[in-house]
């Protein structure tokens, strides 16, 4: 029983901190006040920078200097990029890239 209470507390602590981090800024800058110019600027440039960072994050554990030298990731990414440039379909590119990657790590580079 003590165990379960502690588990609930762990989940609540994570939840409260997460909510503060995500919604906190919205409370600090209420919509009825003019948005500071620097935040207007950041809203335009931040997404592209963040998504670039997230791509690096996705490859953070890829082994480029030992077998399979990041080849499954690189080929999967290449398939995603090329198919998107050709067809401009988000779904298709994600599907092709993911299937390619899964095939490579499950069948080819075992």
């Amino acid at each position: 029983m003590i165990d379960q209470t502690h588990s609930i507390l762990i989940i609540l602590v994570i939840s409260v901190i997460t909510i503060l981090l995500r919604v906190g800024p919205a409370w600090l800058f209420p919509p009825d006040k003019p948005t500071p110019k620097v935040l207007v600027y950041l809203s335009k440039v931040m997404p592209m920078a963040v998504i670039g960072m997230l791509i690096v994050y996705c490859f953070r554990n890829t082994q480029f200097f030992s077998f399979p030298y990041g080849l499954p990731e690189l080929i999967g990414a290449l398939v995603t990029v090329v198919s998107f440039l050709l067809k401009r379909s988000t779904m298709l590119s994600i599907l092709l890239g993911t299937v390619t990657y899964m095939y490579l790590i499950q069948v080819v580079f075992v």
Partner: protein, 237 residues
Amino acid sequence: MNKKTDVYTLKKAFETSLPTLAGYGLMGMAFGLLMADAGFNFIWAGIMGLIIYGGTMQFVAVELLANHASLLDTAIITLLIHSRHIFYSISMIDKYKDRGKARPYLFYALTDETYALVNLPPDPQVNKAQFDLDLSIMNQCYWILGDMTGALLGSFSLFNTEGVDFAMTALFIVIFLEQLLTSDEFSPAVIGVGSALLCLIVFGPENFLLPAMLLILAGLLFVRKKLEKPPEEKNRD
């Protein structure tokens, strides 16, 4: 706004959400499975998807729960893993200005994927406020359903899903491409990738997001004068 726009918006939001349906559905199931292994049922998994709603954090939470981590440790780890969300939210203050009652939820729902998707160039025919809300709710529903399904199914698996998390990588790649193709300014991309690579090398794979975010913020502020076209906006606030 009229019914036709609403239906069209809902349809577009659903189409946009399909990659997350696959990604969140399967990653959520992986999380649920871990929860089941750690002795927690689908209700626990679903509630965590509802009130935490963060992939990496929930995977770490399984460890914290299994090891009876202290609340202080839990708080510190949560701060470290979720600190990047402060920056996501700050950069949405302007875009999410006039969202009325939905505003707090829209901020809460800004996961990596949702943040990326709501920042795509919008379809001119959708009601953007409705679109963002529809998309945010759909994405979280997929995540919660995945979490619960995984915990219910346990280790039962239809096929080898190893590598399916690449769907999220592919999603970010496609969104990045889309942004590059529709923008005439590439320095944010260079700053983002450059800062992340540098911090990955310096801080290692598990601790680089926060320093990378700070470096990105510094970099973007550094080039602000150059990027903002009207020359009179030189005051630094």
